[in-house]
């Protein structure tokens, strides 16, 4: 021991992360010091510029320095190819979600006022909405980036909490149907805290087994430590519970429909896209990097979970009557499709193929999801968004363009050719077949067919039934919302017709796999 060595931190490579967290802290200061009427005018450009700037930094880093080959910050964070791709995806999805968040009509005027009380009326009369949404969203986005790039379990836990805690609060801030919103917030919080306690205990068991929480160190310990298998298996299972909860895999999917329905729709869009991407990044790191040599042991369990997730998601979606709940179950089914790619491991080329397919799928699915939720915010009646499916009857006759775009998004979810969803599914299933998971692919295709049934049912409802006399109106979209819908539709078309550049990018990101 020669005194304390100061840690080295590669600020350059961590810049996108530091920028997002820095802006979030500045956002908190704005809340504290700027007068109320100015806050939104400061927050909107600050948030947008931060996210676009961070995206720019990611691109600059790739072009200038290439992909780093070692973990940074004393091995705590891995800024490798998959990380950089996932950061880019998360930042793009966040930018479009923040465009939706800018719409004033989605967030509560005063969260502290009891619904229906004079206080609330006063707050609504005063106008505006909570601007705390912006720093909270930035913290959540920063947490997502950290979660997906962490190279040791402690950082992963911190990232998980930094991502989740703001989201718990954001879920409770819907402007209308506040009881539902608060209920979704409580449910998400209690179940989320429960699952992260499991994650933490799993981490303790793995630490007990390996003597380190570094992902590469755990992998080394797999070949070295003997006679401690109980700790290892217990730890793996408990870590898995925590991670599978976050991606909403069955049997840990129960929170997803409730939270997606109750939360303000822009926040649902952010959760459904960004959280899923980040959580898959973390799942891949834990099961491929730390526990990669244990794959014969975790693979059978993950087979079961993937099959259950696909079937539960597809079948329960059929019985839904609320559009946001239906999209939530569709997201569960998609988590199952993605898991088939996680299972398809093998030698290095096989891993790189699976990884690149997963990265493409996450981008394609995320952007279509944000677009679909953007359409949901526009179909309104007197009480806010018209969530019930019966209210969507005949939408194609009232507003053919909007209904057409929504139908297109649904077809992309179903994986019809010429949409991004087709190539995403094709790539993941092809990788799974190559990885020897043919039965899983069969289940995947069957549940895709079941899922296609309820997507088509919504399309039929929109175009081939008579509109109700007092049906919902289509809100004139704000510039931001219109831009989101247009962008998502364009991305879905481009990735469906000419996906090669993005596939090449994903291949390049995946080729070197994860650093250790």
């Amino acid at each position: 021991m020669n005194g304390i060595q100061p840690p080295t931190i590669e600020y350059g490579q961590l810049m996108p992360l530091l920028l997002v967290f820095g802006a979030a802290i500045v956002g908190v200061l704005i809340e504290a010091f700027a007068p109320r009427y100015l806050r939104k005018a400061i927050h909107v450009p600050l948030t947008m510029l931060t996210l676009l700037g961070a995206f720019g930094l990611v691109i600059v880093q790739v072009l200038r320095d290439g992909v780093p080959t070692a973990a940074v910050a004393m091995g705590a964070i891995a800024v490798d190819g998959p990380s950089l791709f996932i950061w880019g995806v998360i930042l793009v999805l966040s930018v479009v979600s923040v465009l939706l968040i800018n719409d004033d009509d989605n967030f509560v005027a005063s969260a502290a006022a009891v619904p229906g009380s004079p206080d609330e009326e006063e707050a609504i009369a005063r106008g505006g909405a909570h601007t705390e949404v912006y720093p909270l969203a930035l913290f959540a986005i920063g947490g997502m980036m950290l979660f997906a790039a962490s190279n040791d379990l402690l950082i992963m836990f911190v990232g998980l909490e930094v991502m989740s805690l703001p989201l718990y609060l954001l879920c409770g801030l819907a402007r209308r149907r506040r009881l539902l919103s608060q209920e979704s917030s409580v449910k998400y919080f209690l179940l989320g805290a429960f699952s992260s306690a499991f994650f933490l205990y799993g981490m303790a068991m793995i630490y007990g087994y390996a003597g380190t929480v570094d992902l590469g160190g755990i992998n080394d310990a797999l070949g070295r430590v003997g006679g401690q298998d109980t700790l290892l298996y217990l730890g793996t299972a408990l870590l898995g519970v925590g991670l599978f909860f976050k991606i909403g895999a069955a049997p840990f999917q129960a929170w997803k429909p409730d939270v997606y329905q109750g939360a303000p729709t822009p926040i649902t869009a952010l959760m459904a896209s960004g959280t899923l991407v980040a959580a898959f990044g973390a799942v891949l790191r834990v099961f491929w990097v730390a526990l990669g040599n244990l794959d014969w042991d975790w693979r059978p369990v993950m087979w079961g979970i993937a099959i259950l997730t696909m079937i539960v998601g597809a079948i329960l979606a059929i019985t839904q009557t609320d559009i946001k709940r239906m999209l939530a179950y569709s997201s569960i089914a998609h988590a199952g499709f993605l898991l088939t790619g996680v299972i398809a491991t093998g030698e290095a080329t096989q891993n790189a193929n699976s990884l690149s397919a997963l990265l493409f799928y996450l981008l394609a699915y995320g952007i279509t999801t944000v677009g679909a939720f953007a359409v949901v915010t526009m179909v309104r009646d007197a009480g806010g968004e018209a969530g019930h499916l019966s209210r969507w009857a005949g939408l194609g006759k009232r507003s053919p363009a909007l209904a057409g775009i929504f139908a297109f998004f649904l077809l992309a979810f179903a994986g019809i050719p010429l949409t991004s969803g087709f190539f995403g599914k094709y790539a993941v299933f092809a990788a799974a077949v190559a990885g020897g998971a043919l039965p899983l692919v069969v289940v995947g295709v069957v549940s895709s067919a079941i899922a296609a049934f309820f997507y088509v049912r919504v399309i039929v409802l929109m175009f081939f039934s008579e509109p109700a006399a007092d049906g919902p109106t289509i809100a004139v979209p704000s510039a931001g919302t219109a831009a989101v819908v247009a962008l998502a539709a364009a991305a879905t078309v481009v990735l469906g017709v000419y996906p090669q550049p993005v596939f090449d990018l994903a291949d390049a990101a995946a080729s070197s796999l994860f650093v250790r």
Binding site: F157, A193, L200
Partner: protein
């Protein structure tokens, strides 16, 4: 004799987990989650002693900070729903289903 501490930690964790599942008051459920986190801390510190390195003790500090942040967020959410419904029972929050 670190095994005893591990057994105690497992017991605390199990008590917490069962409490989350059977108790009805959101505050009590939340306290049970905190108990689970503290069980994790005990396990970390014990393993740190076993392995003779400091990682586990440092992790315990991180967990304490995260748990404190979680209390802030959790109590805010639970107090809000209590003021709306005059009840903190998790059974009463039943509008979202199926």
């Amino acid at each position: 004799m670190t095994t005893h501490y591990l057994v105690l930690s497992a017991l605390l964790f199990a008590i917490g987990a069962v409490g989350v599942l059977v108790r009805r008051n959101a505050i009590v459920v939340f306290m049970c989650v905190e108990l689970m986190l503290n069980a994790c801390n005990l396990a970390f510190v014990t393993f740190a002693r076993q392995h003779g390195n400091l990682d586990g003790q440092i992790i315990a500090f991180f967990v304490m900070v995260v748990a404190a942040a979680e209390v802030v967020v959790g109590l805010a959410i639970i107090v809000t729903i209590f003021r709306t419904r005059r009840s903190a029972s998790v059974d009463d929050a039943n509008l979202l289903k199926y």
